[in-house]
């Protein structure tokens, strides 16, 4: 559902970025221009080496870019990681409350909020567990709950499903759609699975490698909720598959 253009989450204009490796600058991203409307669901697909993770880190200002302009209109970003990146020394509850703790919110209040978010992802019974005692799917839910406690207006996901089995990934995908509908935040997600990207996204950025660049942007204007077994859906899957085949 594309929003009105007056409200954007962030804009990148002719952005370049380098990796510094052994004192040498290796180009990582070339000439990236994109505009993400508030409340949109955007997916990024592309081969490894296309700088997808670099793009995410630049959007979040975790690494510098070498040239170009970035306008960040979001106020509170949050991120979900491929390998969960939850803190092993904290319980599930403390992990979820971490962001609020850093904001200086008192223990009682932050635990109340964190408990509610854990309940939202269906893990309220595991709040005293350390990550080591949780399964991959449970850890990713803790990661998702940790992001939600920040009440983010931009949620960035870096291949959140690729370490999970299909059944767990399907359940998490359904939860993610539900969360997006009820919170209305902007979602920017790197994803490898073409049908998933089409089912979830308003538009899909296809990136090419060496150096990373945007090859094409594909609008998905299928009505929601989407039927992943309809003709229209398969047409889009074919279209995206062909584009990817051309560039690789």
């Amino acid at each position: 559902m594309p929003q009105d253009n007056s409200s954007v989450s962030f804009v990148l204009s002719r952005v370049n970025a380098d990796f510094i490796s052994g004192g040498k600058a290796i180009p990582a991203l070339r000439d990236i221009s994109l505009s993400v409307p508030s409340g949109a669901f955007i997916s990024v697909v592309g081969p490894s080496g296309a700088g997808k993770s670099t793009l995410l880190r630049i959007i979040l200002d975790l690494m510098p870019h070498t040239s170009g302009t970035i306008v960040r209109s979001f106020t509170q970003p949050a991120m979900v990681f491929q390998n969960y990146a939850i803190f092993p020394w904290l319980t599930a509850l403390d992990n979820v409350a971490f962001g609020l703790h850093m904001q200086g919110i008192p223990r009682k209040e932050r635990e109340r909020i964190a408990r509610a978010k854990l309940q939202e992802v269906g893990l309220e019974h595991l709040e005293r567990h350390y990550p080591a005692a949780l399964s991959g799917g449970q850890r990713q839910r803790v990661g998702l709950a940790r992001a939600l406690t920040m009440s983010p207006d931009l949620l960035i996901l870096d291949e959140p499903f690729s370490n999970l089995d299909t059944i767990t990934a399907e359940a998490l995908k359904a939860d993610l759609l539900k969360i997006w509908r009820s919170y209305g935040m902007t979602i920017f997600m790197v994803n490898h699975l073409i049908p998933d990207a089409i089912e979830l996204s308003d538009s899909i950025l296809i990136m090419g490698a060496h150096p990373g660049h945007i090859t094409k942007t594909l609008q998905i204007d299928l009505p929601r909720p989407r039927n992943p077994h309809g003709d229209q859906f398969f047409k889009k899957v074919d279209e995206l598959t062909n584009i990817i085949r051309e560039i690789s």
Binding site: A78, Q82, F87, F98, M102, Q103, A132, A133
Partner: protein
């Protein structure tokens, strides 16, 4: 009806720890039995136990003070360097510094502090601090970059990054660094005591060996072994268990 096989990640550790446990007790029991035999045969008749225990207590006291100073110093330097971008530049510098044989520095320590307690303690600090510092720096260097990003995105920046991210991240490293550091510390303290002949276990062995009473050295080693064992069981084992429970992958 299908039954799932319970598999808890702590189980394997538990088992190895028990094995460990049993083996250590076996070794300790045989040493104790051997010591008992020696006592029965009157082997230790000439040992001045009072002097020996006082000497060992002196040495232990110096070691504990030196360890505590090294611990604070190692954590402070480790976290400050680890939180800055200097970590990659300073790592090789520290590596060269730690490779200087510590006993080569003893003339400097004697020059500045004389034949004093402080000299021995500070000399021991200069040996104990390295393993602690290095394990902290390696832990921070080898942390997954996603974990770094997560800490930054969720607001752990500046001092908060040190207290709520780098410090807990380094806890297992501080533990292993401490265990190695204390082992080196015994050597440093006893060695320094032998060199400067300060009251302590080092000078006790030195005097014992010059007067030819080998029994005293054996008795001394048994007492030190006992202290090391007690410290391990009471302090390090519970901490290692807790660390493995929390930090297991």
């Amino acid at each position: 009806m299908t039954r799932s096989i319970e598999h808890r990640p702590t189980k394997m550790w538990h088992r190895t720890s028990l094995l460990h446990h049993r083996r250590i007790w076996l070794i300790m029991t045989s040493i104790a039995l051997f010591a008992l035999l020696l006592i029965l045969f009157g082997y230790f008749n000439n040992v001045a136990w009072g002097t020996l225990v006082t000497a060992v207590l002196h040495t232990t006291y110096r070691l504990i003070i030196a360890y505590l100073i090294a611990l604070v110093l190692g954590i402070l330097i480790g976290l400050l360097v680890g939180s800055s971008s200097l970590i990659d530049a300073l790592f090789p510098v520290f590596d060269i510094l730690q490779n200087i044989p510590s006993f080569a520095l003893i003339p400097f320590f004697i020059y500045f502090f004389g034949y004093t307690d402080q000299m021995i303690i500070l000399f021991a600090v200069s040996s104990i601090v390295w393993p602690i510092l290095f394990s902290i720096l390696s832990a921070i260097k080898s942390a997954h970059s996603d974990l770094n990003d997560a800490a930054a995105i969720f607001g752990a920046r500046g001092l908060k990054r040190i207290f709520f991210y780098l410090a807990p991240l380094s806890f297992p490293a501080i533990l292993t660094g401490s265990i190695v550091g204390i082992a080196i510390g015994w050597e440093a303290v006893i060695g320094a005591e032998i060199i400067v002949n300060a009251a302590g276990f080092g000078s006790f062995i030195r005097n014992a060996s010059t007067t030819g009473i080998d029994q005293a050295s054996v008795a001394g080693m048994l007492v030190i072994l006992l202290i090391v064992f007690v410290i391990n069981r009471l302090i390090w084992t519970p901490l290692l268990l807790e660390s493995s429970r929390r930090y297991a992958e």
